[in-house]
């Protein structure tokens, strides 16, 4: 009986937990009272990255200055260069409670052919904070400035190794420099992310590569030298680095954090979120944070934002990425190896030359536990049962499949399941901010 009592309290507690969460989920009754529940900001990259850090600083600013009655909730949906997260927001309900924080990745993934949609699939809310790419060479490199570099490339095409990450702004920067230098030709090398490119640059495996401003500041001491800043004007703190424009090459590559919403979001919500972001950009805290990162406190909305986005789309539209064609496709060879080895092993087994180890039949147990698991996941994914209840049922069910027979052990597992479901729900939604069903 004590067990049952305990179970009752847990269920009551679980109901309380889930009801707390849905308390704010009423339909909007009128204008002006947006938001009525937390706004989910999808960051389509992992925690700790540049986008995530910026979104979290923004979240903290808004919370500490009480700019919104409801909190922003950061949801990391990383993968495939940001397209997994952007697709999720594009397809989300356009109610203003799911928005996207994504930089120029929104252009690059379209123009690199990764996805078929670009900024036109979203409603832009605001642009916040700007820094630009820095073109770097090795410290002891013979190229004194960007002109040297582009003239050398013009004199001997396909000889200077330009490090980049495929389909990212670094790749587009390379193509735009080639174009600006009068259709010169670098040899493009897909070296990868910032730390990898820095390594390859210092180790003489590439000759030149762009870094984001944040990366450049991090690597400054490490044996590399900036030859150009791809901005409209020189950076106030890096006054000895000329812009490409000063040298006569019209290449500007900013890095801006944009905020996007699903296309048909109500105007009220757009205005409200833009107001809040604008107010946050004015706070001393955010200004100081941006100054630390040497980032410009740009803020754009409305018509200015539209014009800016059209400009930027041009940056990416004008250059076509040329894919390097001489690469082997690993899929078929690997499939062939798998088929040959698998065939050989099954053949040996078939003709009975392989030693067969006798194990008890496991299929029944495996099939049962797998079905219980599948029902559990489907009930949350498709039916929409809340995590707490699904887990409460799942744990005893699997224990019974696993061989719990006596009343006592089933009761123990039931109580355990209820406790675990509540504890996990609390920790994951409140502490770790995971979007559990």
């Amino acid at each position: 009986m004590r067990c049952l009592n305990l179970a009752f309290y847990f269920v009551a507690f679980a109901l309380f937990l889930t009801s707390c969460d849905e308390g704010g989920d009423r339909p909007d009754s009128g204008r002006g009272d947006f938001p009525r529940k937390p706004i989910k900001v999808v960051v389509p990259f992992g925690p700790g990255g540049d986008s995530d850090t910026f979104a979290r600083i923004m979240q903290k600013t808004i919370r500490d200055h009480e700019l919104l009655p409801e909190p922003l909730v950061i949801l990391n949906v990383p993968g495939a260069g940001g397209t997994i997260g952007s697709r999720r927001v594009r397809d989300a309900a356009p109610d203003g409670y799911t928005i996207l924080n994504l930089h120029e990745g929104i252009f690059t993934s379209k123009y690199a052919g990764r996805v078929s949609y670009g900024p036109e699939a979203f409603r832009p809310i605001a642009a916040t904070a700007m820094s630009n790419l820095v073109i770097c060479v090795r410290e002891e490199s013979p190229f004194k400035n960007l002109r040297d570099l582009l003239e050398a490339a013009a004199g001997k095409p396909d000889s200077i190794l330009f490090g980049m990450a495929h389909g990212t702004p670094t790749h587009f920067a390379g193509r735009r420099l080639e174009k600006a230098g009068g259709d010169v030709q670098f040899r493009m090398v897909a070296s990868g992310g910032g730390a990898k490119r820095r390594n390859d640059l210092v180790g003489k495996h590439i000759d030149v590569t762009p870094f984001s401003l944040a990366e450049y500041i991090g690597f400054e001491e490490g044996g590399l030298r900036a030859v150009a800043y791809l901005a409209e004007e020189r950076h106030p703190e890096l006054t000895d680095v000329p812009t490409a424009r000063e040298l006569g090459y019209e290449v500007v590559m900013p890095h801006v954090h944009y905020w996007w919403a699903p296309k048909s979001i109500p105007d009220v919500a757009v205005e409200r979120i833009a107001d809040v972001l604008e107010a946050a950009m004015e706070t001393k805290y955010l200004r100081d944070k941006l100054a630390e990162a040497k980032t410009k406190p740009l803020f754009l909305r409305g018509a200015a934002l539209e014009a800016h986005l059209t400009d930027r789309e041009g940056e990416f539209q004008d250059v076509a990425l040329v894919n390097y064609t001489g690469l082997p496709d690993p899929v078929l060879p690997i499939l062939a190896i798998v088929a040959v080895l698998g065939g050989a092993i099954s053949f040996r087994w078939f003709i009975g030359r392989d030693v067969v180890v006798k194990t008890p039949a496991v299929w029944r147990h495996g099939a049962f536990s797998c079905s219980v698991l599948a029902v559990y996941v489907l009930s949350m994914q498709v039916v929409g049962v809340s995590y707490v209840f699904a887990t409460m049922a799942f744990i005893p069910a699997l224990a019974v499949v696993g061989g719990a027979r006596s009343k006592r052990s089933v009761a123990t597992v039931t109580v355990l399941g209820i406790a675990l479901a509540c504890a996990c729900f609390f920790i994951f939604t409140k502490v770790l901010v995971i979007d559990l069903p």
Binding site: I84, G192, N323, L327, I345, G402, T412
Partner: protein, 486 residues
């Protein structure tokens, strides 16, 4: 490198907690360190990277050590790393020397851990600094070497190892092709644009697969600890040489990419037998056997951390999970890690040291009752493990796709094990393929399409030759001893 952990009480607490959890899970037959660490990784998402890595490294140390108690007392190795310990530990326990066997095992684990910590602290930074000399060609050669090596040493049959490895490579191919940015093998599903993520794959293979197999019988008997566990320094007199040799072997095996604790303890054990004055006692309760196996398996942990933090190449299957932790916290292992995040590197190395200290204290205090853990009913543990599998893989990117991937790989892990196809080459193939392919793409782009530099650049040639030699050596060893597969 030494005191970073001690400067922060919360880190001390995490190291203690991690070690204790590791020992507990390591001691329970059927649960492994890889399972514990892959399931704990999602919990560390919100921690700062230092705490996360200190916690995970402490679990790693604990889980490699905990298995020795149940291996000795009940002949049920809690983790694969302790399989060799059962050979001599259990006979010793049977003849009334259980306390002594545990004392030797725990002490040897500690010495192995400390010696490999010294190697880690001394070697990691120079290797990382050297690594700017490693360009795409060298990384390609290094990946090839790792794959050859892990195929060569895992499992009883070369063809099964190779099949496992190529399956791992195949599973890493869906997603975005690094050279062209085009999607491949996604079959039109946009969720597949990023392929299979490391974490759901590992959780599936190592944790969920346990849910689908028929659970091993829980121990009915209870091993009793007879005799003193804490040994006097004098009693170690005859073991010093063996300790140093086995730790050195363990560290070396650990540094080699892809192969972990069970192989290390196997090689140290057979070396100890070959050089022993009383080789006939091995397998019937030889103290030397326990010492060799336990010092070597702990030493592999420190060794395996070297290529992980210096080059980003996992030294063992658990390091593949730690690599996932680096990636999730936005850290790129390699020389820049030492330059930009000296605090994180220092914390990792120092937490390894203090986890070993914590391990020794916790094990000596709790050895008497830890063997009772083997009596916990599996039908209470398994549902909890399964619930964490689902939660962990969902929380990676807040999507159910990863949960289904995890379930799929759980089934695959089950089937692979049933067909006696080793899992280690699969995991290492899966983890190293992106690095290998990106390096290949960058290398071919920089050479304009020619493969020649792979053989003409001294360092990449060196790695290839080394790969050949190691393969040859492991094939010869395969004849001499038959390794237990994992």
């Amino acid at each position: 490198m030494i005191f970073e952990v001690l400067s922060d009480p919360s880190l001390v607490a995490l190291v203690l907690l991690g070690t204790a959890l590791g020992i507990t899970v390591g001691a329970i037959p059927g649960l492994t360190g890889a399972m514990l660490i892959s399931l704990s990784l999602p919990l560390t998402f919100s921690m700062d990277p230092q705490s996360a890595l200190a916690f995970l490294v402490a679990m790693y140390v604990g889980s490699v050590s905990g298995g020795l108690i149940t291996a000795t007392l009940l002949r049920m190795p809690g983790t694969p790393a302790s399989i060799i310990t059962t050979l001599d530990g259990y006979p010793m326990a049977q003849s009334g020397q259980a306390g002594r066997a545990l004392g030797l095992g725990i002490g040897a684990s500690f010495v192995g851990g400390i010696l490999s910590w010294i190697a880690l602290a001394l070697v990691a930074k120079p290797i990382a600094e050297l690594s700017t000399a490693l360009g795409p060609w060298e990384f390609l050669a290094l990946v090839l070497m790792s794959l050859v090596l892990v195929v060569g040493v895992s499992g009883k049959s070369l063809s099964r190892g190779a099949l496992s490895c190529s399956l791992g490579i195949l599973c890493a191919l869906p997603g975005t092709a690094p050279g062209s940015g085009e999607s491949r093998l996604t079959f039109g599903f946009s969720s597949m644009d990023d392929g299979f993520k490391l974490l759901p794959v590992l959780i599936g293979l190592f944790a969920l697969s346990r849910v689908f197999v028929v659970p091993p019988k829980s121990a009915s008997k209870q091993g009793k600890v007879e005799g003193r566990i804490v040994l006097k320094l004098r009693e170690w007199r005859t073991h010093w040489l063996n300790l140093f040799r086995s730790s050195a072997i363990g560290t070396g095996v650990g540094i080699l990419p892809g192969i972990g604790a069970n192989i290390g303890s196997l090689i140290a054990y057979s070396t100890a037998r070959a050089t022993s004055k009383a080789p006939e006692k091995f397998g019937t309760g030889s103290e030397e056997g326990v010492v060799a196996s336990e010092s070597a398996n702990n030493a592999t942990v420190g060794g395996a951390l070297v290529p992980l933090i210096a080059l980003g190449i996992p030294g063992s299957v658990i390091d593949a999970i730690l690599l996932g932790a680096f990636v999730i916290h936005g850290l790129q292992p390699g020389p820049m890690l030492f330059a930009n995040e000296p605090k994180i590197v220092g914390t990792i190395i120092s937490s390894y040291l203090w986890a070993n200290v914590a391990m020794v204290l916790l094990m000596l205090m709790s050895a008497r009752w830890i063997s009772k853990l083997a009596r916990i009913k599996h039908h209470t543990l398994i549902p909890i493990v399964a619930a964490f599998c689902v939660l962990g893989s969902f929380s990676l990117a807040n999507r159910f796709f990863d949960v289904w991937v995890m379930i799929g790989f759980g089934l695959a892990g089950c089937l692979l094990e049933r067909w006696r196809i080793p899992l280690a080459p699969f995991v290492i193939g899966f983890v190293l393929t992106p690095l290998g392919e990106e390096s290949m793409v960058a290398a071919l782009m920089s050479s304009g399409g020619g493969w020649l530099p792979l053989f003409t650049r001294p360092m990449s040639l060196c790695f290839l030759v080394l790969a050949g030699l190691l393969l040859f050596w492991s094939l010869r060893q395969r004849r001499a001893i038959s390794p237990d597969s994992e």
